[in-house]
Symmetry: C2
Subunit: 588 residues, 2 copies
């Protein structure tokens, strides 16, 4: 047995001559490198540690990149990146940031898609397989999808279509018995039954959908995996290979607490303690929301919190989920069902509050439109990680939600500017029983503004005029309100007394207030979302015939990737200094 | 056996004392009335004729409205309406238009939702059941879903969550062996296997998802249905009742041609011929598209048309599907998969063109954003039945698609104004391999404009200045271009020479052209979609600091229901006379 020099591995071809002992060593060294990087850099811990052997076996058996592999979500592709020309990004701290956390075609020809949302890999791969068939190709097409992602509707749509291909189509189901948190859904009983019977039992979900079915009980055993992938390579019909893996394998703290170590900030390898975490920092909206909701749940047995597989985003860790009991509902990764279950609960007289990562709620636009807004079901939806200060991966951007949801009729879109206002809006939304409401958390960390004017009723658009000025109006939505307030200060220094407005509501206009601005010199809107289709353009349209000049500030309609927050703010003219200067030059 | 007086049936209680012979007579008379109405009024023929017995049995056995039934899509609820206080709308021609074609809570307490999109009933019902459980209720909750709708992702999400309820939850799967056209997907082999084995075979999709399972082979036999519904009434766990029915039962032409008679305009009961249909009328975009596509498919083996269960909307009847062969793909009712399969096909080097009903494509926003636009896959998407002249049911509105899709980065949204321009844009979109493209058919009927200026490349926004005027600019998008041209004529009569512009591209601005309008007196935009989030607001925003007054015309952000087209146009100020008059009064 020789040593494995990770740096010598440039392409999968470099591992294809290894024997099983060498591959085993390779896996151990890759896992070691992953743990070292993850502990100082952070990232998706459990998904990657659990997939080391499977990824090695896939690249060992299949002739990538001629054979095509699409990894669902692609948050488990660190081992894949290590084997496909990007080892240094996992072994040399100076290069840790050379790669993104997801597959990315601009990094490598082995990466077919930039993916970050769950459940789409099977349908994408089915399209690739169909393309191959029509062109007479012979390459294998493989989709790799986790058990947690199987609950997403598009996964089923893709499986349903893929079954009809009648040609080579290999779906590897990586079953680590976990979603981000525990799994929820009827299919998971079947997966358990299959695991418990070494894949022999009926009913079998995959057979029922038209697939041949193979099971690998030791999904972290290279030999078993290689044998199985060899057995299905070049198969002439659709097959599901169900592999039983262990999330977080090799890192005791991650094996023991799979939910916490799904994704982690830098941590101590021994204790699992998050590095640099101190008490007393500002509370984030996840924590804040969970505490508020638990209080409301106790006061009112009709209050229900709903998540689609991301309870942590709502601040509901295991202990809080226990505390909430049946007042906490996790539908699994299934945003459409989350919205519809909220609709059904509201229809039945309950007070549902569903929370979503901003970037994921776009899966459910149709349900927001048809099953909530058209049917006027008074459910509340809270968006997290929206704004430019949410996640900055191109797949997880949080600044499209205003344009997406605020243009749906009869769906109230509220943008609180601080913690007090968020609380007041959440209170009201649960108290009332008329209106579907979206509330967008302003950034990640709760900021306080004790001077905010709170309302008893947010159903009608009613802007808060925080400072009355003249000739210049600054309307700052959500998180941008604070920046506009600072811009107003700058203007005051320059002798310009600006009217400062908190619009609160981004889905319809307070025309009475806007009418008072018609003869102003300049009206500036700022929002923490793309300008196109957003709030400011509604104002510009309304004031289109007025003498006032209207300037809309916000983000560009672009898929930005790993941007720097302050640089982006500057690029968009969203610093207080820039805003003040824009106003002054426009007034000339 | 006595006669059944349909007019005596006001509520389901009126049938609950009937014996099986009376119920059989009732079914026959209801079917007769349905045929009479459908043949003179049009509507969903096959789905309703196939469900007469099941709907009678449901209301006979279950204590509606205390027991809750949600009908998926609800296009099969004419018998339900007949039994729940709305008989006259099916027996008296003077009252045929008293009811909508879908369930509607404003019509009846027996209608829980206004539904028109497929596949959502199970998730909505699961929310209702959860609500009941939390409040200690005992009523039955029933979802009725067709085999065709089962392929929609949200149906699976709802089934997956519903299985975990552990309480009364009854899903009736109405299997008539048809979607709108034939079914596509792996699950249909399992449904067939179950039908062929009287429900006894494994694998069983529903058992695999965690449901108890019951099968009714004679799903149009009242006695069998009543026995089964009695058997599952008050059940204490989730169950699927799979009933085998015949679409179009009782009407020979509908039994023989299930696809044509899924929905039909008024027709002759004997021959099935559509009434008043004459040759030589204007071609519609469905016909036009299919012919164009078949021509392109022959020229280029890489061209593929994709539908999500609505081939007829794309003009692909059975004969054309045969002709297209493997170049026509139907993924079943699964909009998300349709977009992702298009993405995979484009990635593999094919030239996919997917067509959607405007109102249904909103199911796939996330896939348009992530899997097409972010990944820059050069697929083409054609929207049908968009504009205010599409369907006018509140569930099927076609005027939200501009706001929905034109604000996605890197997704080109084209709005042709006539048949020639549609063809040129479609040609270009298939020819190029860089850009994802959406093309919105301008209304339903193909209008010709031989004078249109066509481009070889539509990738960059480049407005056509059709007439150069001064001081007044009229920018008419898509179907609104023709109306703007007429308004320009009116203005010319009043001595005002307006610049008339066809913007072609609604997703980004031709700023060079807009810059020439800055010092105009009035710039008017008109689009056939909601103003909020649409094209005109982008123009208003861009010209926000310019002296020109900007007026955005378009539709209100409302769920309009069964509106009158010309009244709506007037309400929105979209007639040529109104536009001209608005311009003249603004110029003053």
């Amino acid at each position: 047995m020789k040593n494995i020099d990770l740096s010598s591995i440039k392409t999968p071809a470099d591992i294809r001559n290894m024997n099983i002992e060498e591959l085993t060593l390779l896996a151990a060294e890759m896992r070691r490198a992953l743990m070292d990087k993850l502990s100082v850099h952070g990232g998706h811990v459990g998904p990657n540690l659990g997939m080391v052997e499977a990824v090695i076996a896939l690249h060992y058996v299949f002739d990538t990149p001629q054979d095509k592999i699409i990894f669902d979500v692609s948050h488990q592709t660190y081992p894949h990146k290590m084997l496909t020309g990007r080892m240094e990004a996992f072994t040399d701290p100076a290069h840790y940031d050379d790669v993104t956390g997801y597959t990315n075609p601009s990094e490598s020809e082995y990466d077919l898609y930039s993916l970050g949302h769950t459940s789409s890999a099977v349908a994408l791969a089915a399209g690739l397989a169909k393309s191959r068939d029509m062109q007479g190709g012979k390459e294998n097409v493989v989709a790799v999808i986790g058990d947690g992602s199987l609950s997403g509707g598009v996964a089923f749509e893709g499986l349903d279509y893929g079954a009809t291909l009648g040609s080579n189509f290999i779906v590897v189901v990586n079953d680590n018995q976990m979603s981000i948190a525990e799994n929820h859904g009827g299919i998971y009983a079947d997966l358990r039954l299959l695991r418990n019977t070494n894949g022999t039992a009926e009913p079998n979900l995959f057979r029922a959908m038209g697939y041949a079915y193979r099971y690998v009980n030791y999904g972290n055993d290279l030999k078993s995996l290689i044998e199985m992938f060899r057995a299905v390579k070049d198969i002439d019909h659709p097959v599901v290979v169900h592999i039983n893996t262990m999330k977080g394998l090799g890192l005791p703290v991650a094996e023991a607490d799979k939910e916490t170590f799904h994704f982690s900030a830098p941590f101590d390898l021994k204790t699992g303690a998050i590095k640099g975490e101190t008490d007393g920092g500002p509370e984030d909206y996840s924590e804040h929301f969970a505490k508020e909701m638990l209080r409301k749940m106790k006061e009112n047995g009709k209050v229900v919190a709903i998540t689609s597989g991301t309870p942590g985003v709502l601040g509901f860790d295991k202990a809080r989920r226990m505390e909430a009991g049946r007042q906490f509902v996790d539908v699994g990764i299934a945003e459409q069902a989350a919205v519809d279950v909220a609709s059904g609960l509201a229809k039945g007289g309950m007070r549902p509050v569903a929370g979503f990562v901003s970037s994921f709620l776009q899966r459910a636009y149709d349900q927001f439109s048809q099953d909530i807004a058209l049917n006027k079901q008074p459910a509340t939806f809270v968006t997290f990680y929206g704004t430019m200060f949410g996640m900055n991966d191109e797949t997880h951007l949080g600044f499209f939600d205003i344009a997406l949801l605020s243009n749906i009729p009869d769906l109230l879109f509220l943008a609180p500017t601080c913690g007090e206002e968020f609380d007041a809006m959440l209170d009201w939304s649960i108290r009332q029983e008329e209106t579907p409401v979206v509330i967008r958390t302003p950034g990640t960390v709760v900021a306080s503004n004790p001077e905010i004017e709170l309302l008893d009723d947010y159903s009608r658009p009613q802007y808060e005029i925080v400072r009355q000025g003249e000739k210049v109006a600054l309307i700052g939505a959500g998180l941008m309100f604070g920046i506009m307030a600072q811009a107003a200060d700058k203007l005051a220094e320059a002798g310009v007394k600006a009217t400062l407005i908190n619009p609160r509501n981004l889905s319809s206009l307070d025309t009475a207030t806007l009418d008072t601005l018609k003869d102003y010199s300049v009206v500036v809107t700022a929002e923490d979302g793309i300008i196109d289709g957003g709030f400011g353009q509604k104002v510009a349209s309304y004031l289109g015939e007025a003498p006032a000049k209207v300037i809309n500030l916000g983000l560009p309609k672009e898929f930005l990737n790993r941007y720097d927050y302050s640089e982006l703010k500057k690029r968009c003219g969203l610093t207080p200094e820039q805003i003040a200067s824009t106003v002054l030059s426009t007034m000339k």
